[in-house]
Amino acid sequence: MSAFSAIGEQREAEEDEFTPGIEPQPTWCPGCGDFAVNNALKKAMANLGKNPDEVLLCTGIGCSGKLNSYFESYGFHTIHGRSLPVARAAKLANPGVEVVAAGGDGDGYGIGGNHFMHTARENHDMTYIVFNNEIFGLTKGQTSPTSPKGHKSKTQPSGSAKDPVRPLSLSLASGASYVARTAAVNPNQAAEIIAEAVEHDGFAHVDFLTQCPTWNKDARQYVPYTDVQDSDDYDFDVTDRQEAGEMMYEVESKLYEGEVLTGRFYKDDRPSYGQEKRSTGEMPEEPLAERYYDDDAEWERCAEQLIDKHT
């Protein structure tokens, strides 16, 4: 019997189960887009019948990192930019756990960019939600990796001379197997996309546009938005890498021209990292964590297996 009885249980779940009794009320500013991420995540997990005890949410640092305080589950509020390496190892250690990582655009596309690239490349079976508000909010309004060129802030007083990161294109080039963008103003689409991302067997990246009403007042509220799957103006195949890439480029460019395009941009069914690693014999078939909590587990001994070659 598994020592982890919360895992994989068939059940009906309510959104409320994912609201912590200890901090039901988030401290985000009124009008903040982060509320929408929290709500969408709760809704997605409830719709999928998840148990809060089988979910591990790993966050970085910033307003987005507070998600852990307002979403009930196992949590690991890590350090700035490092949610992905913590999260993906937890998944390898116990593939039964539903692993979600989340952080801001500075966290994921700036300081943690290297981890983003490699976690996507390796295609770990997990979901990564990036709260993209084009600003550093919690540190009070500095220019971020997704701030538009020319963005003025206390640290870029004459306006940013840098072109912003193209998060969707970066994700695709890195190897993510599910790439989508949603926006705080579109709660139904957001919940659906997050549920799809969670169900996807591979690295699912959701760039979540979250307006910052306090430090990015000039930025649009991400309305009106267009769902590219619902629009007749856009026709591309999400499983075609080239078409997806072209679409992403357009979506990223248009954001800075004031047009908000959302939806699913890429989906690939290549094997997840866990599957690949198991197929090379470098990952056990049974969840690694289980053996530590099984009194009958057999443990290999160096004396029997390794010392002979030294004698």
């Binding site: 305080s69 690991f76 993906r88 056990p284």
Partner: protein, 633 residues
Amino acid sequence: MTDQELIWRIAGGSGDGIDSNSRYFAKALMRSGLDVFTHRHYPSRIRGGHTYVEVRATPDGAASRGDGYNFLLALGDSFARNPSEDAYYGNEELKPLSENLDDLREGGIIVYDSGLIDDEQVEEIDLHERAEENDWHVYPVDLRGIAKEHGREIMRNNAGIGVTAALLDMDTSEYEGIMEEMWGDDILEANLAVIQDGFEQAQEFDQSHDLEMPDHDEPEEEQALVSGSDAIAYGALDAGCRFIAGYPMTPWTDVFTIMSQNLPQFGGISEQVEDEIAAAALALGASHAGVKSMSGSSGGGFALMSEPLGLAEMSETPVVLVEAMRAGPSTGMPTKPEQADLEHVLYTSQGDSSRVVLAPGDQEECYEQIRTAFELAYDYQIPALLIYDQKLQGELRNVDASFFDREPDGDAGSVVTEEQIAEAAEHHAGKFKRFQYDADEGKEGVSPRSVPGQKGGRFLATGNEHNEAGHISEDPTNRVLQMDRRLGKLESIREELDEKGNQTHHGPEEAEYGIMCWGSHQGTVFEAVDRLNDAGHSVKAIGVSDMMPYPEAEVSEFLESVDECLVVEMNATAQFRGLTQKELGRFGPKLSSLLKYNGNPFEPAEIVEGFESSINGEELAVNNMKYVPAAGD
């Protein structure tokens, strides 16, 4: 050490097979019943560059490199850069013969490959005049020619082994047996022919030397030839570690490689990742999910682990990290040993340190202390670090094979079961009290730990200060309770460590003088202590392994019992002496330092000399060490 010792140095270029040949040779000597110890010297370079390994073999215990060497097998560097008088690197082809030749003892043997090093080059270094002055016995042999005749040029090392055996009157059968285990068919045949040809040619020489194979008997017990890295990796595996994440960096790569090669058959997982920040973070993630896990690096890579290390302290995520030191600062000297990362490992990361740091002194201690590190990390939910260096990493020594006959430890430490979670103290608004102030788990400060997937056990792990359920809290009362609980664990750990007795004592119980050391040169210090006592001095030594928490009582007792103490370490700023003064605060006037930081480990004779100079108030005769007198607290 008696006269009965062979210190055989094989020298060539990187890529000439120095490492593997010396390992086979050491193993052959071990199987013959001798105790062996190897010392490696190599450049940070894939092909070429002067590299050598010394194999020291004695009938009665070898726990250190020796003083110099008495047999040189100089292959010449087959990957040498073009010799040019102006180049600062000089004639690389010749270096295996010319470099450190002054360290060859009187009466010593030189065998060089005349197929690579010609007479003109030998004249350049006045070899024959110097040989006459020092009573060296020089035997040029065309090793390359022998190798090419029976096989390939790379086999010239084995021609050198054949010559060595003939000159030392050594039976080649043990070595040939190892070849048979390594190779099959044609390659084996060619290698055996090369060995025999070398042996037969050397038998024809007019042998004028006295050196021979030390006395040996069948070993009483089966021996295993292991490096510090082998011992660390095996200790980790037997401790139940089944997850490692890392990034290559010399000398840490050794442990990472051994683990990666063996974890699949042990049912575990190894991950090579994008950088060391990720490596440490992965180790935390796997541990958080309930698996015993580790990571590690060397100086620069370990610097990147500072922040995850602090996260482990704050979130009480158990993890074991290894720091394999090399000479710094910065990139420093990547393949040379030093002990200058002690303060880095003790204090890196923001906030007050709460971690365990152990520094093993030899192969057995590597195995035992990494197991202790896992035990403490998982019982106390604290990061435990093992610090060692490039010296202990690669040097081989024979250990009783039965030493490794231990039970593995699959216990996950202070993790509770779902039944215990259900019965646990009241939950905090639905959340398990993972960071309970006053849990009585039998260990001071340790709170019950759950892992994801356990029903009812959900909590928040965070690098922020937090309340009992893990939620962020800046409440002053909670802050102090949590800080005191976390730091309080170190006191219980100190008691457990005191019981384990990781410190190693050597020499007479009562002595006038003391020598203190930590880490890898413990065996060298102990050999020097024996010689000093034989020479009429009254000296005892302690090799300290517990760096944090520091063994206050044991070291205080040692220092109280001696008049003066010399602290021997491989760094320039006396870091361990500083730690001792900080921890004990009252022995400053007794503590002087002998330091070495030129990239080469101490020889026993250097410690003897350093000690004698220090008690006689004389200047050191050599400039490769530094003496720093006592300065008070």
